[in-house]
Structures are given as C-alpha cells and as structure tokens.
Symmetry: C2
Subunit: 389 residues, 2 copies
C-alpha cells in the first residue's frame, strides 16, 4: 500500500453528488464549529510543523536540536490538540478522503481522516465499546446488526462479543480505510475475521434502500464527523431510511458530537431523530481524550414497538457467555458505565430541555408542525433512576 | 498590578525548604508524566509561538498574514493542548510561581500557573462544582469548612451555596493569585465576598498544624498539580495533618489527576489516603476539556466516625434552600452527576483493584506492613449501586 493509492473515483463522485443534490440537505448551523473543517488552513498556520492539519517535514535540522514533531488537529475554533509523532506510517488519498496513519509517542498508532483524528490505540476502547454496547445491551437478544461506516473494524470486534448475533452487515464506503486499518490497526481490524461479518463496500444510503424493511435489530452509525462524505448520515431522509430497516423495537446508535462544543448540532440531531423514532431518543456521552473537548456523545434511538429502556441494560454484557474474553477483554465498558453515560451535566440538561423546535427554515415556515412540548426529551425522567432519594 | 509584581520572597523560600527537607518526601514515580513539568522546554520547542509554555510575540508580521497566536500547554508527554489567544491580560511572577492570564477566543479568560492551565471561564464550572459538592453533599450538615489553595475563589463561591455552613476558612499561599483573580475572574473571586469567609495567606501545613484537632467537617484541597509548591500536599505527613483537623466522620476532597494518564500517581495517593482515612476512600472523575486528557479525578476520604456514603448524597444540593440561585445557577453539578462520578471504566477499576501495596522503597523494606487485601478500594462494591439487575 502506498501513499496516493486510489480507490473508486466514480463511486466517490456519485456519493458526493447524492448528498449535495438532496433537497433536504441543509447547511450546518453557523455556530457549529464543524463547518470550519473545510478550511483548516487558517487555524493550522500557527505551527511550523503543520500544514492543513497534516504533518510535514521539519523546516530546520540542526542535529540534536531539531524540532520535536507534532501532529496537530486544528478543526475546533480556538483550540487544538497535538500528538507527538514518532513515525509516519501511511499517507494516502481515496476518492472520499485523505488518510494518514502515524505512530505517536504516547497514544500508539493514530488514524486521521481529512485531518481529523478518528482513533488512537490508547483510547479507542472508550469509543468502540460504548458505541456498540450501549445499543446492543439495551435490547434482549440482538440477531441482525448493521454497521454503517466502521471500516476500521473496531465495532465489528465489539459486536462479535454478543453470542446472540447471527449476522453482522457492514457498509463502508471507503475500501482504502479498510485496507489501511488491516495493516496498521490489527487489534481493530480483527473484527473482520468473525464469520458472521458480511462486508459491503458502497454507499450506505443505497444499501439501506435495498434492504428489506424491518430487517435489523440494531444499526450502529460509526461514521466520521458530519462533514463531507458523512454529512448525509445525520439528515432526515437517511434517518428515516434507517428507521425503515429496523424491526419494531429496534435501535439506532448514532454519533452526537461534544456536549461542550456542539449543542446546536446535537439539538438538530435530537429533533430529527425524535420525529422519526417514537420509541424514545436519549443522549449519552463518554470520555475520549483525543476527541475535541475530551468527550463524544451518542444518540440512542428506539423504533416504536416493544419498549426499550436504554438506561438499564436488559442484556448486560457481564452475563453474556464469553463476552469479555472474545479476542480480548473489555477495557472501558461495563453495565455501570452504561447507566452513568446517560447522566448529563446541568447545563446540557438545561440546553436540551429548552429546545422546543427545530431551527431549520423549512420548519419555521410551518409553525403548526413544530415539535410540541410533550415531545421534549425525557432526560429528567430518565436520570431520576440515578437520583438520590 | 503589573508583570513581575512580587510577593513575600522569604515566605516562598521557607515553603520550598519545608517541602524539600521533609524526610517523607519521595520522588514521583518515573512513569508519572508530571515529573516533566520542571523541564517543559524540551516539549515546548515544537511551536514557534511558545517558549516554555509561555505565549510569545509572533516572530513574523506581514499584515493580514501574521500568524494566529496560541497558548500551548506542553506538560504531558506526547501531547499538547492549545488555546487561541486574543489578548494577554496579565503576566507576572510571585515568590511561588509564574502567573499568566489571557483572553482566549472560545474559552473566555484563562488562568495559567507555572505553564499549566488552571481554569478557564468556559469549563471552570465542572471542576469547581464537583470538587466542592462531592464532599459537602456527602455529609448531613457541614458547618466548618477549610479550603487549601483555591485562591481564585471558585470553591468559596460553591461552598457559599450551603446554608448550613457557618465558617469558611481558606489558606492560600500566594496573595498574588488572589489579587489577579479578583481582577480578571470576577465570577470566581466573588466567593471571597461571603461574610463567612476568613482568608489566611500562608503555608497550609503551618495553618493546619496550628488548627484545633477535630475542627472541620470538610476540607477541600484545591491546589495546583503536585509539583513545586503543591508537592507536599499529596504526601503522607500532610494527609495525616488534614485528618487530625477533621471531625470524626469529616471528609477530605483532594485532586487525583487523570485516570487516562496518571494511574501510578493515583495508586500512590490512594495508598496514602487509605492508610490514614478508615471511614472510606473513593475515586471519582469528571469531564474538564482544558485539563490533560479532558478529565480530572478526585479522592474522597472519610475519617472514621459516623459512616459516610459518598455515592448517595445525603445532603442533596437540590434540597438546600437557595443553593442553586446563590449568586448564579449551578452549571454542571447535580445529584445524578454526583453518583455517576464514582462509576469507573473497566481499565481503571482493574488497575486500582490490582494495586495491593504501596510502591515506595520504605514500604518495600517492610513487607509485613504492606497493605492487606482487605484494605483494597471497594470500588466494585460501591459501583454495584448502579449495576443493572
């Protein structure tokens, strides 16, 4: 595998066109910092070692005094997180994104897509385990599971712990991500080895449109940030397509950004999901040091049907035979962390509660269709399970 | 107030001498990254804009193309977090530390001591509210409270929400920190205005030695990292001095670093506290974006006496009259977050459980005095309260 190794160019063009032409495609709220991801240069120029979020060769070498090299992630306005680089392992470009892998000095190998850190060996456990077991431990006996994105294989590795699962479909658009991760992240890509896994390389929108209605018990959207190829994955048509592919009482776990930085984006996603998923929508979060502000959020959504209580895992991981020994031990997730993930700081609770209507222009023109008070997220009610009495 | 404004030089010398001469003073474990804080230059040289963790003037100015300025915190090996600087508000040096205040573009004003970010307007709520209410809401009716450090006033602001409190002593060694925060952090230093507050500028070791035995219901150590002037605050003699000053059933809240980065330091602190506090020692953590790895930990310790159950707040903040309106609303803390803070990721649980003996050389020479298995932290037992059943 070499730098610049390409994939399917025409597929990429089709995917980008598909997103852009969608009438429901709306711009990100102006306050959403992710909108800056397309023009990182302005932020990146502060560092000698970084151009557009990419590691570059040092500009001066004086033997022992040559500069320390850092990879810098300047995607969040006003702040940047840098990781010390030991060695660049891979640089390349697929039809969808730029891919960088480097060995860091203290976080193991690091995967970067379009300048944004996706995972590191050190802290991938928190993300992979939470995004998988929050949904799968919330339903009694998941059988058919779909992963959208997830080309690194980490979510597959986690799903494989569930012995009730019969088929694991994965729809990843970028073959190059899969290939690169198989080479540099064996502890994640091991997930592809499970015989229940069926890989589909292509557009998840097309894949889901062709899927039988009510096929899946759980769908996990393990995408990159909602900019570029992944933008369509947080929009209403896609959310509706997902809902259609789920069984009654089936569940979706979608990424939902940082509670410290992206409240407006979270509100928009909550609104969209709430309109579609009548079985309940809940926000959860966890600690991931290498993500902006050190946290990542999840939206847990249930399709109408048999009731789902996300806050008390009905299918606790500790009771699944062999679950914590399959391949390797769990490092982050447990049933207590599951419940604690739904407990929100006061400011988050307040901001999500005060959100009563979707802020899109389309909806502003139709006030009668705005979200009613009774549809507000039931965060207080759910958190009450943990309330001292 | 001007840059270089000095304080009491002789007091500083005495304090440093006091720490250094103490026979119990042991080096930090080699794995502890904080040991590098004294020589930040090696890490800091990666950025043009930064020397020793300090903002410097841009090296080139070309009108509109001049570089964006970042403040960089390079104290953690292999990573750095940077905040965009709008304006330097203060630079100075007290006998104890270098003090920097700047206005950031997205985190409000930022306080930096000896190159390490102490607080920002944006996320100070998480730290100040948790370090205060975790201990104070765990005991029925706190009356006498002591703050060690805390010169910014934020913890005082939070203690003031408790109407049962009669006296709030604060022992801060650095008058300049207090003065600077009164000027640039009015939302924190407002804590000094409460009539119950009695300020003592000086060495906390001396202050506690002169305090009556059993005086305090709660002691909160709101210090900088355990390097330099604050190093003595995590050592056994000081912990014993604190215990002496507490009532039976009184509680201590001490800072306990990041679960992602500093396991060995946490283990050492746990061991020391466990030897002294027989009423229980518990680790808790919370999200603070501008601290290394995005989290900070707390050690909650209870002196033998009336039993204290830290995990279920006996004195819930929501039931204290006027508590959430005193000055300003709570932004982060609530009773659910209190309970969730004690829930640990699996790897943290495992590492703290496997820790059976203190690793200091003194203790290695006395195997019979090593910590017995029965003294292990009761993390599983406590977390069971949140276990799904």
């Amino acid at each position: 595998m070499e730098a610049g190794d390409a994939g399917n160019g025409s597929a990429a063009a089709a995917q980008i066109k598909g997103s852009g032409d969608d009438a429901s495609c709306k711009p990100l709220p102006p306050c959403c910092v992710k909108a800056k991801a397309g023009v990182p240069e302005a932020e990146a120029k502060c560092h000698d070692t970084v151009v557009s979020g990419w590691f570059t060769e040092p500009q001066s070498r004086f033997g022992k005094t040559s500069k320390v090299q850092y990879y810098n992630n300047p995607m969040w306005p006003g702040e940047a997180h840098s990781l010390k680089v030991e060695k660049i392992l891979y640089q390349g470009k697929s039809p969808y994104q730029e891919i960088l892998v480097f060995e860091s000095s203290t976080y193991g190998n690091v995967l970067v897509l379009d300048g944004i850190v996706q995972l590191t060996d050190k802290d991938e456990c928190a993300y992979q385990e939470m995004v998988t077991h929050l949904p799968l431990c919330s339903i009694p006996s998941p059988k058919n599971v779909l992963v959208v994105g997830g080309g690194d294989g980490g979510v597959l590795r986690e799903i494989a712990r569930h012995d009730s699962v019969e088929t694991i479909d994965i729809c990843e658009i970028d073959q190059l991500v899969i290939d690169v991760c198989k080479e540099f992240f064996p502890n994640l890509s091991m997930g592809f080895k499970d015989p229940r896994v069926r890989l589909h390389v292509g557009d998840a929108v097309d894949f889901l449109r062709d899927s039988p209605e009510g096929k899946y018990d759980a769908i996990i959207v393990d995408s990159s940030d909602p900019i570029g190829p992944a933008q369509a994955l947080v929009e209403k048509p896609f959310i509706q397509t997902i809902a259609r592919a789920l069984k009654a009482g089936g569940v979706l776990c979608n990424l939902a950004e940082s509670m410290w930085l992206h409240t407006h984006l979270i509100q928009d996603m909550l609104s969209i999901c709430r309109q579609t998923f009548k079985g309940g929508v809940h926000y959860a979060w966890t600690s991931v040091p290498t993500y902006p502000s050190g946290v990542i959020g999840f939206l847990l959504c249930a399709k109408e049907g048999p009731p789902v209580n996300f806050l008390t895992p009905v299918n606790p991981i500790e009771k699944i035979q062999g679950a914590t020994k399959a391949g390797k031990e769990l490092r982050f997730y447990n049933s207590e962390i599951h419940r604690a993930a739904f407990v929100l700081p006061t400011f988050v609770r307040r901001e999500l509660e005060s959100y009563t209507t979707c802020s899109t222009s389309t909806e502003k023109e139709k006030p009668k269709e705005s979200v009613s008070k009774s549809q507000k997220i039931k965060i207080l009610l759910n958190n009450a399970i943990l309330t001292a009495s």
